[in-house]
């Protein structure tokens, strides 16, 4: 399953200055930008091995290095084409970085890369989840009608703990992924599908939808 881009990459040369290319989107030597000419995975973009385990320090460093090359601020005086391309490549880079940085989004992406099932192909959730969610929702309503802040806190803690344990489950399944996802992939998809239920419960609990803390954001 490892598909390191390294060998292919080292053979690539910049069409502008013929320098060796170290990445897929910009030349370190002459600073030209390239439209990615084939579908490059998020992992390839950062020259990281494809897999769930990821070196965050390497990822961040690769991200900053590429961002320096392709950020539109580098092309404020550049041509229309360069500015447009810089914006597009930066958007692509940001998407890739934020996907790989977050364990849930990374797992989702990896599963899709390995052949699925995707969220559209499998909408199932683990068997006991719906009953569990119903029960928690009732408790939230109860706490709301009482206006009891201590039970709010207890519920928040309980849901967060369930959410965290689901993330651990996702991580454990990802570690088992190898080659075709098969049954492990299906179980993984179910856990991924259940994430939004916990997020919704947390935002229900927060009640005031103005509170930004209810918006789940990649870490």
């Amino acid at each position: 399953m490892r598909m390191s881009p390294a060998p292919e990459n080292s053979a690539r040369r910049c069409p502008q200055c013929d320098a060796q290319l170290n990445n897929w989107i910009a030349c370190d030597s002459c600073e030209s930008l390239f439209d990615v000419d084939r579908p490059v995975t998020h992992f390839e973009l950062f020259d990281l091995p494809q897999g769930f385990g990821i070196d965050h320090e390497l990822l961040s460093r690769a991200y900053r290095k590429l961002a320096r090359r392709v950020h539109p601020d580098r092309f404020a005086d550049g041509s229309e084409r360069d500015r447009e391309l810089a914006t597009r490549l930066s958007a692509r880079l940001n998407e890739a970085f934020q996907t790989l940085r977050d364990p849930v989004r990374r797992a989702d992406y990896l599963l899709t890369q390995l052949g699925g099932p995707t969220a559209a192909e499998c909408r199932e959730v683990p068997g006991s989840l719906l009953a569990e969610v119903m029960e928690i929702r009732e408790k939230i309503e109860e706490a709301k009608s009482k206006g009891d802040s201590s039970s709010f806190e207890a519920l928040h803690e309980a849901i967060t703990a369930r959410r965290d344990s689901t993330i651990h489950g996702i991580e454990a399944l990802c570690a088992k992924l190898d080659g075709a996802p098969g049954e492990t992939g299906r179980e993984l998809r179910k856990l991924l599908n259940s994430m939004k239920y916990f997020d919704n419960l947390l935002s229900d609990l927060a009640g005031d939808p103005l509170s930004k803390s209810t918006v789940s954001v990649a870490p």
């Binding site: 200055c17 030597s29 002459c30 600073e31 961040s60 460093r61 900053r64 290095k65 961002a67 320096r68 950020h71 539109p72 601020d73 580098r74 404020a76 005086d77 914006t87 597009r88 930066s90 958007a91 692509r92 940001n94 998407e95 970085f97 934020q98 939808p209 103005l210 509170s211 930004k212 803390s213 209810t214 918006v215 789940s216 954001v217 870490p219």
Partner: protein, 647 residues
């Protein structure tokens, strides 16, 4: 080195502007670092009060400090805090409008649009136009400083500004004749100003409590890259609110003790000034004296709301004024002020907590806390910030100057002068579209790194339908009605097909400025669809162009930089006139003379394109006018002859 360092950056300077609620500043940066540009009339003065005073008829009386001095005697035509209005509509401003001393009117009656304006005499000015006047003045400072044209600028906005507010700020720049090459977030700019010479790694919290807005941003600095991890805040929370807290207190007490309701804009303005002074005094002292003389007509009990002209406090020369004025007087302690300020400061502290949560950081992870904005001078604010981050804030730079200095740094980054630093920012608000039943389908979440992109598929639901309307929203709420509509985006030019067949891919791109760009493509035909936007709270391109032209027409003529444009225009006019004469009466000239004139016309046309030297162009124009004189005289007498034969 790399190729780009040899591609010389264009010579005209790029300026950085902090367009503030209370004060505005302009800065630039060179190899030595950022510098503020002073008021040309006073080299120690860097603050331009963001105030424009008008004559009753609607022409500009003064901008800046002088304008502010008119606030009490001309409360209805002295426009302040316009930043609180920019990019917003009447529906957003019901609270705000009550506090202003000047009236707001609706600018556009078009369906789906909600744009406000300030009415002065028979004229209406949008907040964009008033802001443009402030920008023109700052531009003038910069042009006098550099002794050359300034056409490009970086302008800062609160991090929490939405798309409409950012667009409106950019439009204000365009009306002022500035190419706004970048909009950057104020806290991010502040971090840039502070982080100049630090090669090390650090996590920085920027607490920016200004006149009208509050932002908290948390950034990671590493390898010269400033990466915003999270931002939070409130575009309607600032020092103004504390002033209004004091004004409310004074007004209530005046009502209780003297039995009068204050309705006069002049007295409200007087109270506003008083509140500002009290607030500032309490930053240095434990107690402040409050004293205001109320005119006699106001204190006649039982008259209810009165609206008399008022002489400002302190004039006091007339003897009858001294005898008849009733005085409202009290002492206020710092403790009382802090009690009053607590709810607002609480809100800023809560936002700090949310930002840390989003960034997944604890106070112990924050290496440095930077204070920005005049309201951070308040000791109570400093104390609360120290508590929440568990460390003393860093205040090496003047809090009112930091943002402009950072804007100057960003300008030098864009100019290629400074190449070792890069800003990576985030979008403050979630972006979505209205779906069935008035819900919001979120496409991009708050705190996503920009530039960012999201695509969504649409189709038609009638046979042969060639356009689709999409309501684009920003905000965190679940219902479209609770979010801010950025406008209705109408996709046109869809090839006619049966219902449900077109596959329209709409791409929403938020650029590095936090501004939305929408494009659409019909995938079956590969045709680009055009996107027509009706901005809910913004101006159309045509409106901006029109305002730009009006601004030029009304601009005060003291601007040296516009001299060149004027000279070019005059030259162009003279050349066109000469060409018409040559065309009509050239036959009267010697062929050699005719050739010489035609050659001159061409030469001058070319020169006008390349030369930036107004003096030279003007001299050549005058020479040319003299050379054309014989032809002009012949043309004149020929015309007279023709007229005579007609009679």
């Amino acid at each position: 080195m790399s190729r780009r360092s040899f591609v010389t950056t264009t010579n005209d300077p790029i300026i950085g502007i902090d367009l503030g609620t209370t004060n505005s500043l302009v800065a630039y940066a060179d190899e030595a670092g950022p510098h503020l540009i002073p008021n040309p009339d006073d080299s120690n003065d860097f603050l331009l009060p963001s105030v424009v005073a008008f004559h009753e008829a609607g022409n500009v009386l003064a901008i800046g400090r002088e304008a502010r001095s008119h606030a009490v005697e001309r409360p209805l035509t002295t426009i302040h805090s316009v930043k609180r209005l920019i990019g917003r509509g009447a529906a957003d401003l019901t609270q705000e409008a009550r506090r202003l001393t000047y009236p707001l009117k609706s600018h556009s009656s078009e369906a789906g649009r909600d744009i406000i304006a300030v009415k002065i005499g028979d004229r209406r000015f949008t907040p964009q136009e008033i802001s443009a006047m402030i920008l023109v003045e700052l531009r003038r400072w910069a042009e006098l400083h550099f002794q050359r044209d300034v056409t490009r600028a970086v302008i800062t906005v609160p991090a929490q500004f939405d798309d409409a507010q950012r667009q409106a700020t950019r439009d204000a720049g365009a009306i002022a004749g500035l190419d706004v090459i970048r909009i950057i977030n104020e806290p991010t700019a502040a971090a840039l100003a502070y982080g100049l010479n630090r090669a090390e790694q650090a996590t920085i919290a920027v607490y920016d409590f200004g006149g009208g807005t509050f932002d908290i941003s948390i950034l990671r600095l590493e390898d010269g890259v400033f990466e915003v991890l999270a931002t939070n805040g409130d575009t309607h929370l600032g020092g103004d609110d504390l002033d209004h807290g004091l004004i409310g207190l004074f007004t209530r007490e005046i009502a209780d003790s003297l039995g009068v309701q204050i309705a006069s804009p002049a007295i409200r303005q007087q109270l506003r000034t008083l509140a500002e002074n009290v607030k500032m005094q309490l930053s240095d002292e434990d107690v402040a004296n409050v004293e205001i003389a109320l005119p006699p007509s106001l204190t006649r009990r039982g008259t209810g709301e009165v609206y008399p002209p008022v002489s400002p406090l302190g004039k006091g020369g007339g003897s009858e004024a001294v005898t008849c004025h009733e005085i409202y007087r009290r002492k206020i302690t710092r403790g009382e002020f802090e009690d009053m300020a607590r709810p607002w400061v609480d809100r800023t502290i809560e936002a700090c907590g949310r930002a840390m949560k989003t960034a997944q950081l604890n106070p112990a992870d924050i290496d440095q806390v930077v204070l920005v904005g005049g309201s951070t001078r308040i000791p109570y604010v400093r104390q609360r910030v120290s508590e929440v981050f568990q460390r003393r804030p860093y205040t090496a730079l003047v809090p009112e100057h930091v943002v402009a200095l950072g804007a100057g740094v960003q300008a030098s980054i864009l100019a290629g002068v400074k190449r070792d630093v890069l800003l990576l920012d985030v979008t403050p608000l979630s972006l979505g579209i209205e779906t069935m039943g008035g819900a919001v389908g979120k496409l991009i979440l708050a705190n996503t790194k920009v530039p960012c992109r999201a695509s969504e598929m649409f189709t038609t639901f009638k046979d042969g339908q060639t356009s689709i309307k999409i309501n684009v929203l920003q905000g965190e709420r679940e219902l479209a009605a609770d979010c801010r509509s950025l406008g209705v985006f109408e996709l046109r030019g869809i090839p006619p097909m049966p219902a449900g067949i077109p596959k329209l891919e709409v791409t929403f791109l938020i650029d590095q400025n936090g501004i939305l760009n929408v494009s659409a493509k019909e995938l079956r035909s590969g045709m680009e669809a055009s996107v027509q936007i009706v901005p809910t709270h913004g101006l159309t391109r045509e409106e901006v162009c029109k305002m730009q032209a009006e601004a030029l027409a009304h601009a005060r003529e003291d601007m040296s930089a516009h001299h060149l444009i004027d000279v070019r225009t005059t030259l162009e006019f003279d050349l066109n006139k000469a060409e018409r004469m040559i065309h009509q009466f050239g036959r009267l000239l010697e062929p050699r003379e005719l050739r010489r004139l035609l050659q001159q016309v061409n030469e001058l046309r070319d020169l006008a394109k390349i030369s930036n030297n107004a003096e030279e162009l003007n001299r050549r124009r005058e020479e040319f006018d003299r050379a054309v004189l014989p032809l002009a005289e012949m043309a004149m007498s020929e015309t007279l002859k023709e007229e005579a034969t007609k009679m």
